[in-house]
C-alpha cells in the first residue's frame, strides 16, 4: 500500500524528545524530518484514505473528520509542551519526503518569520454568548399565556421582539467592550465567525468568537482578566478555551504584512462610538 506523508507542524529543532507513543492520524507514530534547520513533524498515512478523492469524501463524514482533527490536535498539543510549533492546516499531505523537503525549501523564509513571531506565544479563545431567554410564559398559568385576541397577540409579539433586541444590543456592547480590553493585552487578534448553536450544541447565541495571541508569560494575567468579567453581565456567558498552539495566527492572513490591518482592527474595537461589535453577527 502506498504511503503518503501527513504533516502536522513545522518547528525549530528541539531537544526534548517527543513522547514515545505519540500517534498521529490513522494511528501511525509521529516522526521528525529535519531539513534546512527546520523540523517537520510527520506521520505516514495510507494513500487509499488520503489521496485527493478519498479525502474529499472523508471530509464529509463527521466521524472521520472528528477523529482526524483530534489526532492532528493531539500531535500539535504534544509539541506545545516541548517547543512553539507552527501548526499546519488539517490534511496537509505530501507524496514523499522529497516533496516535503522541496516545500520546506520553498517556504523556509515564511516559516522562520512566523516561528519568530509566535515564539513563546499561545492562543486563547474567548466566546461570548447571549444566554437563552428565560421563558416567563412557563411560570404563568397556561390560560394567561394564550392571547385574548389577534391584537393582543401582535402586541405581545412586538414586546417580546423588542425585549429580545435590547438583550441582543446589551450582549453586543458587552462583547465589544470585553474584546477591547482583551485586545489590549494581546499581541494580535483574530475574529472567527460566531458559531451556530445548532452545530456547537451550546445553549445561547454566540456573539463573539475571538482568538488572542498572548505571550505564555502573560497568560495567567489574561486568564484572570477573562475570569473577572464572567459575572459582569447578567444573561451573558463568557467561555475561555486554550491555551492553543497559535492556529489562528498561522494562516495566510497572518504575518507581518497584515500587522497594520490587525492594529487598525483592534483600534476600531476600542472606539466606543462604533456601533458595530467585533465579529458580531446574527
Amino acid at each position: 500500500m502506498t504511503r503518503l506523508r501527513y504533516v502536522y507542524a513545522v518547528c525549530r529543532p528541539f531537544r526534548t524528545p517527543l513522547q514515545a507513543q505519540l500517534t498521529g492520524v490513522a494511528g501511525a507514530p509521529a516522526a521528525l524530518l529535519h531539513h534546512h534547520g527546520l523540523v517537520a513533524v510527520v506521520s505516514t498515512v495510507p494513500e487509499a484514505d488520503f489521496c485527493e478523492e478519498a479525502l474529499k469524501a472523508h471530509l464529509e463524514d463527521l466521524d472521520w473528520l472528528a477523529a482526524t482533527a483530534r489526532a492532528h490536535q493531539g500531535v500539535v498539543d504534544a509539541l506545545t509542551t516541548v517547543t512553539t510549533p507552527l501548526p499546519l492546516r488539517l490534511a496537509t499531505v505530501f507524496r514523499d519526503d522529497s516533496a516535503l523537503r522541496s516545500m520546506i525549501e520553498a517556504r523556509e523564509d515564511d516559516f522562520r518569520r512566523l516561528l519568530d513571531r509566535l515564539d513563546g506565544r499561545v492562543e486563547w479563545g474567548v466566546k461570548v454568548y447571549l444566554e437563552p431567554e428565560p421563558e416567563p410564559a412557563e411560570a404563568e398559568p397556561v390560560a394567561a399565556a394564550r392571547p385574548a385576541s389577534g391584537r393582543d397577540y401582535l402586541r405581545s409579539r412586538r414586546e417580546r421582539s423588542h425585549a429580545q433586541e435590547e438583550r441582543w444590543q446589551r450582549a453586543e456592547r458587552f462583547a465589544h467592550s470585553l474584546h477591547g480590553r482583551l485586545a489590549e493585552r494581546a499581541e494580535d487578534v483574530r475574529l472567527h465567525r460566531p458559531q451556530n448553536s445548532a452545530i456547537s450544541g451550546t445553549p445561547g447565541q454566540n456573539v463573539l468568537n475571538a482568538a488572542y495571541l498572548v505571550p505564555r508569560a502573560h497568560s495567567e494575567e489574561f486568564v484572570e482578566l477573562v475570569d473577572r468579567t464572567k459575572d459582569e453581565a447578567p444573561g451573558i456567558r463568557v467561555e475561555l478555551t486554550g491555551p492553543w498552539a497559535a492556529y489562528s495566527f498561522s494562516g495566510e492572513a497572518s504575518g507581518a504584512q497584515d500587522g497594520a490591518e490587525a492594529g487598525a482592527e483592534s483600534g476600531v474595537h476600542t472606539g466606543a462610538e462604533s456601533g458595530e461589535g467585533p465579529g458580531v453577527g446574527r
Binding site: 499546519l88 496537509t92 475570569d227
Partner: protein
C-alpha cells in the same frame, strides 16, 4: 485565580482552528486541500449529523 477546566475540546472550536487556521501549503504536493471549501463541507457534515438526532426547532412542541 479560578483554574479553567480543560474539558474535552469542542469539535467546533477545533474546526474553527484546523480548517480556517494553520499554515496553508500550496504547490508541489499531492493535494490541494486549500481549494476545497472545507468550511462548507464541515458545516454540511455537522448539520446533517445534528439533524439526525435533534428534532427540528420549528416544530410545535
Amino acid at each position: 485565580m479560578t483554574v479553567v477546566e480543560r474539558r474535552e475540546i469542542a469539535l467546533v472550536d477545533l474546526l474553527d482552528r484546523l480548517l480556517a487556521g494553520g499554515v496553508v501549503i500550496t504547490g508541489d504536493i499531492t493535494l490541494r486541500i486549500a481549494d476545497v471549501d472545507l468550511v462548507r463541507i464541515d458545516l454540511n457534515a455537522l448539520i446533517s449529523s445534528v439533524n439526525e438526532q435533534v428534532p427540528s426547532p420549528f416544530e410545535e412542541p
